[in-house]
């Protein structure tokens, strides 16, 4: 390659257990908001301990116009553009995440067990899933045009409250 060429692949390494196609480490929107206010996630509290955030591993996020990560909601493709949706690997709710204020997330394909699903839905293996406020949610109707980002895995919803999810790369449609 010529030295003047600015091409550089910059993707992050896949992690064992979640060998997804694309990894991203990026600030959470709730942290960016707290930074401006001087109070909230990642900001030291009155004693000096960083405040935990609310984004937990296994939830779904998207990049907003500020370049930060916020909880994802599948768009209706008849009214909005498609989205690239990521799954959170390490959130801002724990010690290190609280300190740094960044989320580490990945875009499929991948398989995961998660507690971050809409408890009001019913889950059957193979059922397509959409994102709703960061939660995996059943796609209700074939013609609702909400972007499908995963399907329920073969184990379905376990009795211990864990959902088996097969995360697709891109989208399965809408």
């Amino acid at each position: 390659m010529k030295l003047s060429n600015k091409y550089t692949p910059t993707g992050m390494e896949p992690m064992p257990g979640a060998r997804a196609g694309l990894w991203l480490s990026c600030k959470a929107q709730e942290v960016a908001t707290a930074e401006a206010a001087g109070v909230g996630p990642s900001v030291p509290d009155d004693e000096g301990t960083p405040t935990p955030g609310t984004v937990v591993p296994g939830s779904l996020v998207e990049i907003n116009a500020s370049g930060n990560l916020q909880l994802a909601t599948s768009p209706d493709w008849t009214a909005a553009m498609p989205k690239m949706i990521f799954c959170v690997f390490s959130g801002d709710d724990d010690f290190s995440g609280s300190l740094v204020g960044d989320l580490l997330c990945y875009h499929g394909g991948g398989r995961l067990d998660t507690q971050q699903y809409n408890p009001a839905g019913s889950y059957v293996p193979g059922m397509p899933l959409i994102a709703s406020a960061g939660l995996f949610t059943p796609k209700v109707a074939a013609n609702d045009h909400f972007q499908v980002i995963a399907v329920v895995g073969p184990k379905g919803l376990s009795t211990n409250g864990v959902l088996d999810v097969l995360l697709c790369q891109g989208s399965l449609g809408a």
Binding site: E35, G38, V39, V43, E47, T49, P50, S96, L99
Partner: protein
């Protein structure tokens, strides 16, 4: 057919020893010390935060655990509150069930990219490009520490800007006096100041009527690079104008009034070779906390130095 066998052990030797030794020396090494014919692009510097808070390495048994997570933290105890009162001779003391507040320092990881190159392509470089990359990446990690430190400072001041941000029109003695007094009015001692070198240069314009003939003359004759204190307060000056705002000066209380800088591991080089591919990256694990939010003051000037 004969062939050579390369093991990971041997490959570490393949990379020249000084490369490894340099990393063992870590961030104490100055870029200026490097003898290389590379044309430098920007000045890299050690972390300024390490001059405000002295890093302390933690051993395994000094880390505090938590039943909800396997992430490390360090709990730091703070001075308990106490009081005294005047009473008449028959007076007796109240019971005071004392408690000492605490705060937790959490840790993160700073990493460089993984630098990868074919050893055959490396042969085309007459300088040791691996050494430069590793040395610079350690300093890039220092930049990350500084960026995090300034972010923490700004977060703290943003919560209490009326008290902890002093806005002034120009770089004058009275501007600094105002910020010093803000700290002292909160019964916090003054320890150090931190500012960019470009702002530091503004001191050249301090008039003899303000600093005296001898100092103004010395600044004219020798410049201010040798100046280590302003008004008796030690000054940390940094080249990092992309991290620290050139319009601002931070004034801190001494470390025991301010916070802690812990290290689970200081900057470390990890290097390996797979066939013809040489890969290396640097990483460290620091934790920085401010336990006394009122022990810092931000002094903001109206305009940046030209």
């Amino acid at each position: 057919m004969n062939y050579q066998t390369e093991t990971p052990q041997a490959s570490a030797q393949f990379v020249n020893q000084s490369f490894v030794h340099m990393i063992e020396a870590g961030r104490t090494k100055e870029a200026a010390d490097e003898s290389t014919a590379f044309i430098r692009e920007i000045v890299r510097q050690e972390a300024a935060v390490r001059e405000v808070l002295v890093p302390v390495g933690l051993a395994d048994d000094q880390i505090d655990r938590d039943e909800r997570t396997d992430e490390p933290k360090k709990i730091v105890e703070k001075e308990p509150q106490s009081l005294a009162t005047f009473v008449e001779f028959q007076g007796t003391p109240q019971a005071w069930w004392f408690k000492g507040p605490r705060y937790a320092v959490y840790f993160g990881k700073i990493i460089s990219p993984e630098f990868v190159k074919s050893k055959f392509q490396l042969m085309t470089y007459q300088n040791d490009i691996r050494k430069i990359l590793a040395d610079n990446s350690v300093k890039d990690m220092a930049d990350v520490e500084d960026r995090f430190w300034r972010r923490t400072n700004v977060l703290i001041v943003n919560k209490n800007p009326g008290l902890q941000r002093t806005s002034v029109p120009a770089f004058t003695s009275s501007a600094f006096k105002k910020a010093f007094q803000a700290l002292l009015l909160r019964r916090r001692p003054i320890g150090k100041m931190l500012m960019t070198k470009s702002l530091f240069m503004e001191a050249i314009d301090l008039p003899a009527t303000s600093v005296g003939n001898a100092i103004a003359e010395a600044h004219y004759r020798d410049g201010i690079e040798n100046e280590e204190r302003f008004w008796g307060i030690p000054v940390i000056s940094t080249i990092k104008t992309d991290i620290y705002d050139p319009r601002e000066c931070w004034i801190y209380s001494p470390q025991n009034f301010l916070g802690n800088f812990f290290l689970l591991q200081d900057a470390t080089l990890y290097i390996k070779q797979e066939a013809d591919k040489i890969m290396f990256h640097t990483y460290s694990s620091p934790g920085i906390g401010v336990g006394n939010r009122l022990s810092l003051q931000q002094l903001v000037f109206a305009a940046p130095p030209p």
